[in-house]
């Protein structure tokens, strides 16, 4: 009998008590192993299996797997492996049979993948996850089960790290760790081999500090990591891990943000960025990650090689203060902004807009506003070319940023050239074209052309272009000539800008397309453009047609004289058009004909100066705009000249006309009647069809329709000349739709203010948006009622304030000169003189006038907390009145109710309002300027600032009605409100400026501090805002109306006045004293 037969027979009985598969697998295993093992080894193997079977109630299942493993063992198996397997299984099964099952099931694959020597280690890894309870047992089982999927991806060392992570995570949540484990094979497959270990290492850190993010990390982490340049990934993960080590809950967020940021950069730059981040890491791991996250935004403003100086400046701040440095790298610090600004060569329109606005105003004498080119196309009023500078008559549109050169000054000079060209169009009258105006250089030939013709044209320039069959060509020629005239005027009038202008012209010339590849007529126009750019050397034209070109250039030069008008440009256009039409638009294919430079014809003879006659071809009606003659090429407009931007005289004249109409002004000479829609539509189509063809497909009708509506709206809204009262660079007006006196939607003006971060000891730049609007109007009886209710107080206050008036003159004695002798001093003088003492010469008196030049701003807290009743606590003293007698209580209650119904309990806001009314009457008496403002809001983007009475408004019924609408609304972000009130005060020219803050004294808002309960941040910011006001020469004064307000206000008002108003009755007696103290 063979060893196998013997063993089978011997054990059949011992295994017969169990389900059939046990024996079957035993037999199969034994037969499979028989050739590879010695009889004693087989014997031992069998014994181990049987032992396993008997170990516990369900351990036979493990034994099934044990025997099965015998069958499946790979070829590299050794006896030692089998022995280990047996030992481990028995040990495991004594603790948990299912665990052992999973282990054994995956064992053959493990041996195959890891090599026979590592089975033990693998077993240990799983065992590590097992903590003796069923959850951990199932996790460990899962680990063994997943083994075959993991082995192709991970090496044992990597698996052991993974287990570390799973184990760590399991301490927090078995569900989560099980989910992560299940994902592990897929996630790991996605990663490059080198990345796996660091990836898991970060996972371990994450599991320790913000374990909840682990699932996210497993889901998205791999894809995010791919954004990082491969060689840098490990270092990146290390940086991330350091954040996690700082026990930060949002480590994954940092990881994600920074990875996305890196994804936006060139992979080659990753090395530099991460190296710089690593330098920051020892000081603050958060700063390091924030640095990476901010890089794309920073690079938007500076070049990559300037990144290091920027980082170094931040590092210095970081070394001094963590909060400061972190804010710097979060780009939430004014210092950071400043440094960026210094480093950056870019010029941003937002920063220089105000300078350019005043500059353009100086040049043109008009109230222009400056906006980005994008906002012009957004308007949808006919300008469709993105990003080209232009003007529509009231606004100059400029590119948002200028970063053409590596020096800031050069970039500024460039944007200034842009602005100057647009301003010069207005200054030198590009849009003033009139048929009736005689040209200065040419002879007037337009009159002859239109004589006897009827025209439906709305504007003069439209009518002019109507003369030309090929409108596009005419428009291009007019643009070239007029731009040339404008440039010439700029060169003549503004010597200082010649150099940068020349530079821009040179740059523009360098980018002109190859002229030899153009058909002749197109080349003719192109040459004119070059000539207008002062590029005589760049002009080339076939030698057989030099004459036409020379004439053309001569015509162009004719407007380059002092005094040339836009009408001269028009006359030149007429003549150039005729010349251009005489040149066929064909390619010059004859190789014998050279292209040569052309000298402009000098001293135009009379025939050139006179331009009577027909405009070529068109009059016969055969040639339609855009039609191409026999064998000719389609005419194409020359390339744009960037600094000149878009020139649209037709639209500008139309807009001017529409504005005039809207304002009920003179309708102009061309059309005494208002425009019809047809006229408008016709004009739009005429002036824009070639633009639109080039830019958008789709039907012209709907586009012009849209433009028309927008144009009407544009013209209907008052021009900037009227709305531009503030002149504040940071404000943008969003005007309500409604027309008429009272817009339905209130006009909201937005201002931006910095906020003080006391931790970083720095401002967060442009952090808060203050939205200013007029408070809506309510009933006006509140004002009257208050006056009636407090009639006595009002009279008293008024009287007190009137008493201040006579003090306007004060007699000052002992002056070296004055109106008359001061008798006492004069006698002293005589005595001293007689006594031989050197007498005091100051013996005169005079009355000195004390002018009242005071402006006061009242800032009323309209936060929800002002809804509280004032005397809540004090009411308790009533309690004892009724003793224990229920009837007494009832009568007390009834009387209290009645009292409350007739006079509801006073809330803080009521006291604020009433105080305001009293103050107003007082100030009206004394004649000081004052403004009343309320504030509330939610969050930094939405600080509402309500105007109840502006400084320049007079107390009228509208203001009384607004007073009624002072109600508690939302939060209290005091800082920005104070800053805005400071701005309001700055705008007044009073000598003495006072800011009175009426509040319950609790600054509080969403995001105003680390969390809702933190007060430090809000108080520091408020205090800083008050300090800023003081620096401006404004006296801040807090008038808290709640006794409980003391605590916070003390911090805020350390060294400035404050006085609690607990009771309105106290106001009249206190106010004048207070007020006098403040104003003198």
């Amino acid at each position: 009998m063979t060893v196998v037969g013997d063993l089978l027979a011997r054990n059949q009985e011992r295994l017969s008590g169990f389900p059939a598969p046990l024996y079957q697998n035993f037999e199969a295993g034994l037969r499979a192993l028989a050739p590879r093992l010695s009889p004693s080894q087989l014997q031992t193997w069998t014994e181990t299996g049987v032992e396993l079977t008997a170990l516990s109630l369900r351990s036979w299942e493990a034994a099934v797997e044990y025997f099965k493993a015998g069958t499946d063992m790979p070829a590299n198996m050794t006896w030692e492996t089998l022995e280990t397997l047996g030992r481990e299984s028995i040990q495991m099964a004594t603790e948990s049979a299912p665990l052992s099952v999973s282990f054994l099931r995956s064992a053959p694959a493990a041996v195959a993948a890891l090599g026979p020597g590592h089975l033990r280690q693998w077993a240990d890894l799983g065992r590590r996850l097992y903590k003796g309870n069923w959850k951990s047992s199932s996790l460990a089982s899962q680990f063994y089960d997943i083994g075959p999927q993991l082995f192709p991806v991970l090496r044992l060392q990597q698996v052991s790290r993974l287990v570390l992570f799973i184990d760590e995570l399991a301490r927090h949540s078995y569900e989560l760790s099980s989910a992560c484990l299940a994902q592990a094979p897929v996630v790991m497959t996605r990663l490059d081999d080198d990345d796996r270990l660091p990836f898991i290492a970060f996972a371990v850190e994450l599991a320790q500090s913000s374990w909840a993010d682990s699932r996210l990390y497993f889901e998205r982490g791999a894809a995010l990591l791919h954004k990082v340049h491969a060689p840098m990934r490990e270092r990146y993960l290390l940086l991330s891990a350091q954040v996690a080590r700082g026990h930060n809950r949002s480590a994954f967020q940092y990881y994600e943000d920074a990875a996305i940021a890196l994804g936006e950069l060139e992979p080659d730059d990753h090395h530099r960025v991460i190296e710089l981040a690593e330098q920051l890491s020892p000081y603050s791991s958060f700063a390091a990650m924030d640095f990476i996250t901010s890089v794309p935004r920073v690079l938007y403003r500076i070049r990559i090689d300037e990144l290091e100086p920027w980082q170094r400046a931040g590092l210095r701040i970081l070394q001094q203060s963590h909060d400061g440095g972190e804010a710097y790298f979060r780009l939430q610090s004014t210092r950071g902004e400043d440094i960026l600004d210094t480093l950056s060569a870019r010029v941003e329109l937002a920063k220089v807009g105000e300078i350019l606005r005043l500059y353009c105003k100086a040049l043109t004498g008009r109230n222009l506003s400056i906006q980005t080119t994008a906002s012009l196309t957004e308007k949808g009023i006919g300008w469709v070319d993105q990003g080209r500078a232009s003007t529509e008559g009231t606004t100059v549109f400029l590119p948002e940023v200028m970063e053409r050169y590596t020096e800031k000054d050069e970039n500024f000079a460039a944007i200034k050239v842009f602005a100057t060209h647009q301003a010069a169009r207005l200054e030198f009258g590009s849009f003033e074209f009139r048929f009736g105006t005689a040209p200065a250089v040419f002879e007037d030939s337009r009159a002859a052309l239109i004589s006897g013709q009827q025209s439906s044209a709305v504007t003069d320039i439209e009518r002019f272009f109507d003369l030309f069959p090929d409108r596009q060509l005419a428009s291009d020629l007019f643009t070239v000539v007029e731009d040339g005239r404008i440039d010439a005027a700029i060169r003549r009038e503004y010597g200082g800008i010649r150099k940068p202008l020349k530079r821009m012209q040179k740059a523009a010339l360098e980018h002109r397309p190859d002229i030899r590849r153009m058909p002749l007529r197109t080349a003719f126009v192109e040459n004119l453009v070059r000539a207008s750019l002062d590029g005589a050397s760049a002009i080339l034209f076939p030698t057989n047609r030099q004459d036409e070109m020379a004439q053309g250039l001569g015509l162009l030069n004719a407007v380059d004289v002092d005094g040339a008008l836009v009408e001269d440009s028009a006359e030149a256009t007429l003549r150039l058009y005729r010349l251009a039409m005489s040149i066929p638009n064909v390619f010059e294919n004859d190789d014998d004909i050279e292209w040569d430079s052309v000298e402009p014809m000098e001293g135009m003879d009379r025939s050139m100066m006179d331009a009577s006659g027909e405009l070529g071809g068109g009059q016969s009606g055969e040639m339609q705009p855009g039609d191409v003659g026999q064998g000719e090429e389609q005419y194409a407009s020359p390339d744009d000249v960037d600094y000149r931007g878009d020139f649209k005289p037709e639209l500008v004249q139309l807009l001017m006309k529409l504005r005039e109409n809207a304002q009920g002004g003179d309708a102009g000479e061309m059309s005494p009647t208002p425009l019809t829609e047809e006229q408008l539509k016709e004009l739009l189509e005429k002036s824009m069809d070639f633009d639109l063809d080039a830019l958008m497909e789709g039907d012209l009708d709907s586009t012009t329709g849209m433009f028309m509506t927008n144009l009407m709206k544009e013209a209907g809204t008052p021009s900037s000349e009227k709305s531009d009262k503030q002149g504040d660079p940071t404000s943008d007006n969003s005007t309500g739709e409604g027309e008429g006196d009272e817009p339905l939607i209130p006009i909201i003006t937005v201002y931006y203010y910095d906020e003080w971060d006391f931790r970083a000891q720095d401002y967060k730049p442009r952090w808060c948006a203050v939205k200013e609007q007029k408070l809506e109007q309510g009933e006006d009886n509140f004002y009257e009622n208050t006056l009636r209710e407090h009639a006595g107080l009002v009279a008293q206050t008024r009287k007190q304030f009137e008493l201040m008036k006579p003090e306007l003159f004060r007699k000052i004695k002992r002056l070296p000169e004055g109106e008359d002798f001061d008798l006492d001093s004069a006698i002293e003088w005589m005595i001293e003189k007689r006594a031989g003492v050197n007498p005091n010469e100051k013996i005169y008196w005079r009355r000195n006038k004390i002018e009242r030049d005071v402006a006061v701003a009242f800032l009323i807290d309209m936060s929800a907390s002002t809804d509280e009743e004032i005397n809540k606590k004090e009411k308790k003293y009533d309690d004892d009145d009724y003793g224990d007698d229920p009837r007494k209580y009832l009568s007390w209650w009834v009387s209290k109710r009645r009292q409350e119904l007739t006079a509801p309990p006073k809330r803080i806001i009521d006291l604020e309002k009433e105080s305001t009314v009293l103050l107003m009457t007082a100030l009206e008496t004394i004649g000081d300027q004052y403004g009343i403002y309320g504030f509330s809001g939610y969050g930094r983007d939405n600080v509402e600032f309500f105007v109840i009475k502006d400084f320049d408004e007079h107390l009228d019924s509208a203001i009384k009605q607004r007073l009624d609408k002072i109600v508690p609304i939302r939060s209290t972000r005091m800082g920005p409100a104070i800053r805005h009130a400071t701005y309001k005060l700055r705008m007044t020219d009073a000598k003495v400026k006072i800011l009175v803050l009426l509040s319950d004294g609790r600054p509080q808002d969403h995001g105003y501090g680390r969390d809702r309960t933190e007060k430090e941040y809000a108080i520091h910011d408020t205090k800083q805002a008050l300090n800023e006001a003081k620096r401006e020469g404004i006296t801040p004064f807090a008038l808290p109306v709640d006794r409980a307000g003391h605590d916070y206000l003390k911090t805020m008002c350390e060294d400035m006045g404050y006085e609690v108003v607990a009771d309105i009755e106290a106001l009249p007696s206190r106010l004048p004293t207070l007020y006098r103290r403040l104003t003198e």
Partner: protein, 286 residues
């Protein structure tokens, strides 16, 4: 030192410190102001000169004093100028007692002196003065031509040549500092504004000696900067300032720098407005 003389009018007074206009002060007429002033003087109608600072009001009065002195056959026409300030009182104008070694001594104020010698009395920026000065101005500016000297108990009838000229700058008009109508309506008003570009250039060239091109550029700068009035700038740049800048240029300071110190920095402290003006300067000057 004080010498007692008899005036042609016969009053006995102390010698006044006269403002002696020897050489002809340069003045380029912009309109008919010279003719107006001469006629007004002939009729002894008081004159109010209105206009912004540095537009040439004072120079005009000096010129007229010289002109009247030379064309009317008089040897000279004394001009007494008083710059008014907010503490200027009536007694500052009329005179007061001063202490002397032997007691008190009356000293005439500038207005009294002018009345006595028949000079032109020019009260510059008259709105700045105290309201009590109107008490003096009113009787002097109508048919009476009287100056009451309260403290002496005297009334002085003006000498024939006397004329009161006042100036005022509507630019800083505020409710507090407006001229009262009862005062205003005793004068004819000549309005001054900065001269048109070409004339201004001529003035600048004459006063500073710079070449025509520079003078034109400066006048252009003036025109442009004045466009900013009411917008960041309460006053436009005065001709006087432009002349100062021109003098700096004439004496070797580079134009851009001269305009910076002579125009930009003198005009405003607002950095943004400064920068804008500077951009205008760099556009005009190389």
């Amino acid at each position: 030192m004080a010498e007692v003389i008899t005036t042609p009018a016969g009053a006995l007074i102390h010698q006044v410190e006269e403002y002696n206009v020897e050489a002809e002060p340069y003045y380029l007429p912009i309109g008919d102001e010279i003719e107006l002033f001469e006629t007004a003087y002939a009729q002894r109608i008081p004159v109010l000169l209105k206009g912004p600072t540095g537009a040439g009001k004072t120079r005009f009065v000096e010129h007229m004093a010289w002109r009247l002195g030379h064309t009317r056959g008089e040897q000279r026409k004394p001009l007494i100028t008083v710059a008014c300030h907010e503490d200027l009182t009536a007694s500052d104008l009329v005179g007061r007692y001063l202490l002397d070694t032997d007691g008190t001594k009356w000293v005439d104020g500038p207005l009294t002196r002018a009345v006595k010698v028949g000079a032109i009395c020019y009260l510059d920026e008259v709105v700045e003065a105290r309201k009590d000065t109107t008490v003096l101005i009113h009787p002097l500016t109508d048919y009476r031509r009287l100056l009451p000297v309260e403290k002496l108990g005297q009334v002085i009838e003006s000498a024939d040549g006397f004329l009161l000229v006042i100036s005022y700058n509507p630019g800083y008009q505020s409710a507090l500092k407006d001229l009262k109508h009862s005062t205003r309506q005793r004068f004819i008003s000549i309005e001054f504004d900065y001269p048109p570009k070409d004339q201004e250039a001529e003035i600048i060239a004459h006063e500073s000696g710079v070449d025509k091109q520079t003078a034109t550029d400066l006048a252009k700068l003036g025109e442009k900067v004045r466009n900013l009035r009411e917008h960041g700038l309460s006053e436009g740049v005065s001709t006087r300032l432009l002349i100062y800048a021109a003098r700096l240029i004439h004496n070797g300071i580079p134009p851009r720098r001269a305009c910076q110190v002579g125009v930009t920095w003198s005009l405003t402290d607002d950095q943004e407005v400064q920068r804008s003006i500077e951009e205008v300067v760099t556009s005009i000057f190389e």
